[in-house]
Symmetry: C2
């Protein structure tokens, strides 16, 4: 089951964007800095590698009581005992994933329009990743930025919680929360920074302030 | 449940090696020519595409009473309702796949040594794909050819049925069966031929003769 509070500062991994630093260490540093949920994304790894990294992160996130989400690969999520699955519009359809995931696993869906958001909600998504909010180079398949207006429309239309993803940083994270998001999802804004823990702490401070003011 | 007879002429797909011919049509022609089992391999497709092709082949193979096997992706195999899963040495570990696959799905494992064969058998594999028997260009990850001697050793050591894969054609298929294999797995030997149905018929004739003589 998803606790919407866990969406506040959602780290999505990318080994390339971690600038060569080992992923487990980088994730642990980010959690120490205040990351509340971790998504493992592996677009190039073999299934065996993906599974082994998932097991490694699973042990680490469990120790820190932070949910682990697997991107795209439901089989890896099930095999590694992850709490969640995240699927994009070119992944397994949500209805098919929902049937196999069992009722304990939560599922998030990437959306970039109100229509996609409502469809995902109808099909049983537990949260939405909406974006790209701002232009970003972190995801090759992120598409054009949807902007704060569209993010606000998605947040208003959906009953399930929404995280804003794409180009979110300390300067604009407050605006994303103000638009109605339950949190932000970040890749390079944490993993590509000289201090991973410092970057997470900086974002967390802005988010906590935004929540208090909001 | 696997019927070992279905391993006799096992077609593994590859959209590139089908020389641009639509996959469903090519598979149907191969089945009409005598293919007894079909494995869907998609190394480049998105999960959504993989799932959709799997559903298409699922309908087709079911109509012809031929089992469908999915390469690597247990989630696609489960979602599409395939009869089998095939895993290589860099895919999900067999024990993890076995736990999730349920008892109705059979699992085959690629091996190239007697040790790998015995380990897969111990961990619950239902059949083995041993190779590459002969040098082949069809699979980038096929490794060096193991030869007929090693194939015979694997067939002798394993209690579960073995299919020979890699460079098998009408001229050497009889020798593969003589080495103890329950069948052959073929990619380009069928899919890259001018007449897919004709190639399957030619192989099937050799195999049926081999079985009678053996």
């Amino acid at each position: 089951m998803l606790n919407p509070k866990d969406l506040l500062l959602y780290l999505c991994t990318d080994r390339v964007l971690a600038l060569g630093r080992p992923l487990a260490g980088a994730v642990e540093e980010a959690i120490a800095g205040g990351v509340t949920m971790v998504q493992l994304r592996e677009k190039e790894a073999s299934s065996r590698e993906f599974y082994e990294i998932a097991l490694e992160l699973r042990a680490l996130t469990r120790r820190h009581h932070v949910p682990l989400v697997i991107d795209d690969r439901l089989d890896i999520a099930l095999a590694a005992g992850a709490e969640g699955l995240h699927i994009g519009q070119s992944d397994l359809p949500l209805a098919a994933a929902r049937r196999l995931a069992g009722k304990d696993m939560f599922i998030g869906v990437s959306v970039s329009t109100v229509e996609e958001a409502l469809e995902a909600e109808r099909n049983g998504a537990d949260y939405l990743g909406a974006g790209a909010v701002y232009p970003t180079g972190s995801k090759a398949d992120a598409g054009e930025a949807v902007g704060l207006g569209r993010l606000a429309a998605i947040c208003a239309a959906a009953k399930i919680p929404v995280v804003g993803i794409g180009g979110v940083n300390v300067d604009n994270a407050g605006a994303v929360i103000k638009a109605g998001a339950a949190g932000i999802a970040v890749i390079s804004g944490i993993l590509s920074q000289p201090s991973i823990g410092g970057a997470a702490r900086g974002l967390r401070r802005v988010l906590d302030e935004g929540k208090i003011r909001g």
